[in-house]
């Protein structure tokens, strides 16, 4: 498979072949060029040779003419003509040829006497002039064009046979120059028949200028033609041979290299597509190195697949472990998130009845804190096992965190969900926690949300609905199983739950939303207000949300510390704004978790600066779980050294108040409304509570009665020795403003007590 920007072997091979063809063509072109150059050089050489050849032939012709003239001039019979001219024509027309003085009839000779008159003037002289031309006296030879015939004239003087005799006369040889030249032997380069002389009719030409006026053609050189033919054939044969070699090489290249590489590439592609081992069984590649590469790749691929399989197995193991809760063995929060998303998609694609069950262990933190983490973990395992046993075969249990579990059921009905919840509680009731040393009953609250198939589009609301149902189940008096819609006030709760959650988070982000309403605490006797308990409210969109509505949200979101910090900040602001007059104390509620947090301690240290004008008291709600008792005790001792008084709030509703009273430095015990109401009873309960009040009073604790709403109860608590009292009878919680207190001087009560 090709990669963009890369070249295939076939393309490279094709490019290589094209490059070779181009190179071959270049070589052929160069060879043709060289051949043409050689041919031109040979032609030039032939032309020069022809010119030299012609020059030599002309010279030979001229020399031959001169020799003939010399011979004629010295010939006795020539001299005889001047003394006996009766038979001159015989001599001229016959004798000179028979004797060999003139070699051919192309040459004619005429004799002239000393005055220039031709001998035997009346006889035909073959066109030779009747009088000796003047040129004969100047030049030994010249050419003339006479009627288109190029004639060579060569004159000579005939001496008298004795020095004293002087010149007897002259001779004039006329030669048909072109014919004689063409008949010259030894023309190898010149084409004799193509010879011509550029000379206008009637004009003459010196013999020295013959060559420049001569036009000639180079005779085709058989050797040169043969050479060219051989060279051309050789080049053609070479080209064909190279081309054939190229084709053969291409075939060999294709068969030995390209095809194996292509097969190797196919093998690699097949390996990428997972077809391992199939192609290895095919015929091996011819190239040993490629076969080695192929086998190595196969082996490497096999090893990779084996490694991949191992990694997949390990991945599955890791994924399983990653999705499993190590403590309980059920699925963890990660698995919940993944499966819940998938579940929603499935349900939306295939509508069906679905249920969401949320499990929460009651008072697990108290158990954990009381019996230790090991037992707490064991409790969670037993709970998880019980839930799993109660579920259907294909249902999965998810631990969302801490003591909270969830199950979402497909193909379910609300009845099935409720039955599973009840079965779960039955199993837990049957569980023997006593073996763990846990004497208190351990149970879970179960919130159920159900949607029929027609409403599957709202499947994503199921967790919230189950959450609401859960809080409903946890409310006192419930049977700890609540089905959203049936057991909850569906519309309002849904609205409130979401509104309170939003209110809490917004209040924490903007502390101004938290309002502190102050309820006066009166000292007994005298009923004088000695301090105020700060009670938090959240102002949300103009409405005031009460603690009973937002505290569950704070608890469920584990926002106790943040909320307490916000309350302290607001209280600090109120004191700075002098809403509470000097001398009058302030009591602030803190969760037990906040006591051990450095941020809160730091804030309290800062807050302690008000102790000079306002007695300060921290109320620890005994329903809060205190898991690190020693650490909390240390911090409380520190706070007490800073003039904070520690009060045990809502005494009588908590889980182990006696232990807290024993282990923690508590100064004040605030009896819960439920206990205060029982003080007026005349039964055993009334007596127990009364005795308990006496005991606490005798132990030196300052006692505060909460929720006093009528005079009878007021008198009763006063009689029992309660040092302080608060309730609607004496004052409701309300916002304070500075002018309200400016008129009176508060007196410290609790702050000064003890």
């Amino acid at each position: 498979m090709g990669v963009p920007g890369s070249l295939s072997i076939k393309q490279i091979a094709l490019a290589f072949v094209i490059a070779l063809l181009v190179l071959l063509s270049a070589i052929a072109g160069f060879a043709v060029y060289q051949t043409r150059a050689v041919t031109q050089d040979l032609s030039a050489h032939s032309r020069n040779a022809a010119r030299a050849e012609l020059d030599a032939a002309i010279q030979r012709l001229l020399v031959q003419g001169k020799e003939q003239a010399t011979s004629l001039a010295s010939w006795g019979e020539t001299r005889q003509q001047f003394v006996m001219s009766e038979y001159h024509t015989y001599w001229r027309d016959q004798r000179v040829y028979e004797s060999g003085m003139l070699s051919s009839k192309l040459s004619r000779v005429a004799l002239y006497d000393a005055s220039g008159a031709r001998l035997a003037p009346k006889s035909a002289a073959h066109g030779l002039p009747a009088r000796l031309p003047d040129a004969a006296l100047r030049d030994a030879g010249w050419l003339a064009n006479e009627a288109g015939q190029i004639l060579l004239y060569q004159a000579f003087a005939v001496q008298g046979g004795a020095p004293q005799r002087g010149v007897l006369g002259y001779g004039l040889i006329r030669t048909d120059f072109m014919a004689s030249l063409q008949k010259q032997q030894g023309f190898f380069f010149t084409e004799p028949d193509a010879l011509s002389l550029v000379l206008a009719p009637g004009e003459t030409l010196s013999t020295a200028d013959i060559l420049t006026h001569l036009r000639f053609s180079v005779r085709p050189d058989p050797d040169r033609l043969r050479f060219q033919e051989i060279l051309s054939h050789t080049l053609l044969a070479l080209f064909v041979l190279l081309l054939a070699s190229l084709i053969v090489m291409s075939l060999v290249y294709s068969r030995l290299l390209l095809r194996p590489l292509h097969r190797l590439s196919d093998d690699i592609d097949a390996m990428q597509q997972g077809h391992v081992g199939e192609r290895l069984r095919t015929q091996p590649l011819r190239i040993a190195e490629l076969e080695n590469i192929r086998r190595s790749l196969h082996e490497y691929q096999a090893q990779l697949r084996e490694l991949h399989g191992s990694l997949e197995h390990q991945n599955r193991e890791f994924r399983s472990q990653a999705r499993q809760d190590a403590l309980t063995g059920c699925h963890n929060r990660r698995a919940y998130d993944e499966d819940w998303t998938h579940f929603q998609e499935t349900v939306k694609a295939a509508p069906q009845g679905v249920a969401f069950l949320l499990f929460d262990c009651d008072r697990f933190k108290a158990i954990n804190d009381t019996y230790g983490h090991a037992k707490g973990d064991r409790v969670l395992s037993i709970i998880a096992d019980a839930i799993v046993m109660a579920l259907r075969a294909n249902d999965r249990l998810y631990r969302l965190g801490g003591d909270e579990f969830a199950v979402f059921m497909s193909q379910a009905t609300s009845t099935q969900a409720r039955q599973i919840a009840q079965r779960c509680q039955s199993l837990l009731e049957a569980a023997n926690f006593a073996d763990l040393g846990i004497r208190e009953p351990v149970g879970v609250s179960i919130g159920i949300a159900y949607l029929p198939a027609a409403e599957n589009a709202r499947v994503d609301e199921l967790p919230k609905q189950a959450d609401i149902a859960m809080y409903t189940a946890k409310q006192p008096g419930r049977n700890r199983i609540a089905l959203y819609g049936e057991d909850t006030e569906r519309g309002a709760q849904t609205l409130v739950a979401s509104r309170e959650t939003s209110a809490v988070f917004q209040a924490l982000a903007a502390p101004g939303m938290i309002e502190l309403h102050y309820q006066p605490v009166h000292a007994l006797p005298g009923r004088k207000v000695v301090y105020y308990e700060a009670l938090a409210r959240i102002r949300y969109h103009g409405d005031l949300i009460m603690p009973g509505a937002f505290l569950p949200v704070v608890a469920s979101r584990r926002l106790e510390m943040e909320f307490d910090l916000s309350v302290l900040q607001q209280a600090d602001a109120d004191l700075a704004a002098m809403l509470i007059p000097h001398g009058c104390g302030m009591s602030i509620n803190l969760s037990a978790q906040s006591i051990s947090r450095p941020e809160v301690i730091s804030q309290l240290l800062e807050f302690s600066r008000h102790s000079a004008h306002h007695p300060l008291m921290l109320e620890i709600t005994e329903t809060s779980l205190i898991t690190q008792m020693e650490e909390v005790r240390t911090y409380l001792d520190l706070l007490r050294s800073l003039n904070f008084r520690i009060a045990m709030d809502d005494f009588g509703t908590g889980y182990s108040p006696l232990r807290y009273l024993v282990d923690l430095p508590v100064d004040v015990v605030k009896f819960d409304t439920s206990l205060v109401g029982k003080l007026s009873q005349k039964n055993r309960t009334g007596r127990i509570v009364t005795d308990f009040v006496d005991m606490m009073h005798d132990a030196g604790y300052l006692l505060v009665a909460e929720g006093v709403e009528d005079e009878g109860v007021l008198r009763r608590v006063e009689s029992l020795g309660f040092s302080h009292v608060q309730g609607y009878l004496l004052g409701r919680p309300a916002r304070l403003s500075p002018p309200e207190f400016h008129g009176g001087e508060a007196r410290a009560g609790i702050a000064r007590a003890g």
Binding site: E77, R79, Q80, V83, Y87, Y90, G160, L168
Partner: protein
């Protein structure tokens, strides 16, 4: 015959001392030359004539001339002009031969006069072949008194082969009488195609063997014939005919017509012997 001494040229370095080429104008416009090998006048001067159409440079003649000169004889070797001004080479048979025997005799007379002018009062004529016949023709007329002897080597008549001489002469005479001057081609001596004017040819044709023998009988000076017995050029029985005369005939055994090679010395001996005898007479 008018003979003028034109000049005496002493020019050729190759010619030994006292050797010179001399020229005379034998006829108007026709100079002729001769080699003059001068010696004392105490011995007879020799006029040595070449054969038919040859020149003085012909080997037999040239060798003989130098042999005689070395023997102390003045030798004059003329080259007959044959109508050619300043002829120096042999004349081809096919050339136009307008010269006649009379012209040749006249030229010989001129050279003899020239020798006389050089103080030679005793002149011996020596000829070779046709030249012997030409010298015989000179002697047959009125020879100069200075001519004292005549040696004919390889003497031959004007040979015409097997043709009937009389008929040929008659035809030529008729041609001449009819004014026909056309050239005639005829065998003459060693020329198979001797081209000549009728008159010139006729002058030679008249010298047949009979006229030659007759002339020999009337030669007014001492005569010596030197013939080679292997001379194939001669007509059969010619030497025998010569022997029947009272003229001494020396036969060079084995010599051909040209008496070349080793026979040159024997020829020279015969000539010198004649000259010696002539001097002692």
């Amino acid at each position: 015959m008018r003979a003028f001494l034109l000049c005496l040229l002493v020019s050729l370095a190759s010619i030994p001392a006292r050797a010179a080429v001399v020229q005379i104008e034998v006829r108007p416009g026709i100079p002729a030359s001769a080699e003059y090998l001068a010696a004392g006048t105490d011995k007879p001067a020799v006029l040595l004539l070449h054969g038919f159409l040859q020149t003085r440079t012909f080997a037999t003649v040239a060798t003989l001339a130098h042999g005689l000169h070395e023997a102390g004889h003045t030798v004059l070797s003329p080259t007959l002009s044959l109508g050619i001004p300043g002829r120096e080479t042999s004349l081809a048979c096919e050339a136009v031969h307008a010269h006649s025997l009379d012209d040749d005799v006249a030229e010989l007379a001129g050279w003899i006069t020239w020798l006389e002018s050089r103080g030679h009062q005793s002149i011996v004529l020596v000829g070779h072949s046709f030249g012997s016949m030409q010298l015989l023709a000179y002697l047959a007329r009125s020879p100069d008194p200075a001519v004292k002897g005549y040696i004919a080597t390889s003497l031959t008549e004007a040979q015409i082969g097997d043709l009937p001489r009389a008929e040929l002469i008659a035809r030529l005479e008729h041609q001449i009488r009819s004014g026909d001057h056309a050239l005639v081609t005829q065998r003459l001596s060693f020329c198979q195609n001797y081209l000549s004017t009728p008159q010139a040819l006729l002058s030679y044709l008249r010298w047949d063997q009979a006229r030659t023998v007759a002339a020999l009988r009337t030669v007014p000076v001492a005569t010596q014939l030197v013939m080679g017995d292997s001379d194939q050029h001669l007509e059969r029985g010619w030497i025998k005919s010569l022997r029947r005369m009272r003229v001494p005939v020396a036969i060079v055994q084995g010599a051909n017509h040209f008496m070349d090679g080793e026979h040159e010395f024997e020829l020279l001996d015969h000539v010198l012997g004649f000259l010696q005898r002539l001097g002692g007479r």
